[in-house]
Symmetry: C2
Subunit: 214 residues, 2 copies
């Protein structure tokens, strides 16, 4: 998988190796977590020596932080960018959420959503890794909240709709779908998530407003 190739075109030598390392690191971490991601396994998976790989980062924590940043960019490219193509307002909000759910269902990484995995892994473990994960989650939920607000400003959602509240809900439902899908392997949970979000939007969408969630 050369997931990162899109994001950081290899302008100089060596950057391709780093991209390949981080793409594999995201994939392993989606299954084993950022702690279960060991330098030895990662090096072996890439046919590199441990110390050769190690030299790229300097410490395991730096590898973890670099992997989070790579995943942040990758998620933006895979979910935000395509989702934002839709028309501003409710269509765009629905499009981003649908892309997100589809992304989780497609299992781009073997363990499903990278951030769902590492956010649960580090949520109660203070330190730089947790801080970066928390920042990524905040950035994402804030982006969702902005989309809700845009729909509100266009009159496609009632003034009573609270962007922070709804963004938090949608994120929880999507993360829940990812988790229960990985756990039970029954794609019905994505139907559950879509219905929950659709119903929630209906409460705030003025009579006659049309929208569709995939």
């Amino acid at each position: 998988m050369n997931a990162l190739a899109v994001l950081e075109p290899r302008t100089r030598k060596g950057s391709h190796t780093r991209e390949a390392i981080l793409a594999k690191a995201m994939d392993i971490a989606s299954v084993q977590g950022l702690d279960g991601l060991t330098i030895g396994t990662l090096a072996e998976a890439l046919d590199l020596s441990k110390s050769g790989l190690f030299a790229h980062f300097g410490s395991k924590e730096e590898l973890q932080l670099a992997t989070i940043q790579a995943a942040r960019g990758f998620f933006a490219q895979e979910v935000m960018v395509p989702g934002l193509k839709a028309r501003k307002g409710l269509p765009r909000l629905c499009s981003v959420i649908a892309t997100w759910l589809d992304y989780a269902e497609r299992e781009v990484f073997r363990g499903g959503c990278f951030f769902t995995a590492v956010s649960a892994e580090f949520d109660s473990r203070p330190g730089p890794v947790k801080d970066q994960v928390a920042d990524c989650m905040t950035e994402w939920v804030d982006a969702l909240a902005r989309l809700v607000k845009e729909a509100k400003d266009l009159g496609e959602l009632d003034r009573k709709a609270d962007p922070r509240q709804l963004a938090w809900e949608f994120n929880s439902l999507a993360m829940g779908a990812n988790n229960t899908y990985q756990l039970q392997r029954d794609p019905i949970v994505f139907t559950f998530a879509r219905k929950a979000i659709r119903d929630r939007l209906k409460v705030y969408a003025p009579e006659g407003t049309r929208f569709q969630l995939r």
Copy 2:
């Protein structure tokens, strides 16, 4: 913490040690995960020798499985039992959910909800540990679905209410609240979760039905 003392009164010698081990194991795993839970750290925290502790279980996987079973019983005692005291129907459903959210907010374990942590940790790692975690989650969501159905049967929720759908939603929202609370330490997420669930119930509760979620 002698969390398990309630569940398994020490009928025979040695069982007290096992309870103490499992109570500490649940607490550590809520932070570090069931993989981050090492026999060495656990033994040291309990002032036992590694091999002394090891003898109780025979393998790390057995320790992990025993910890899950202990957590299953503990969760039943802490959330289901008190929650079920309320009157059948909507009050009971609300009471169980409120107890669950309160349990997460009180941080009975340092890392918050044990099952939220290990369910994300093992959701994509096939094996006996994942299977037991999946079973526990199914048992819990099924219990929630039964409570929704009881409320339906009593006419406190509309016939259109789908117990499986709603149970899945409530579980996702509660797990989401636990995760974002651990991550950001802002208790407002419990308010978000309560409002989301309340609003969702309002959609299906016949006009004039009274209920409260904490």
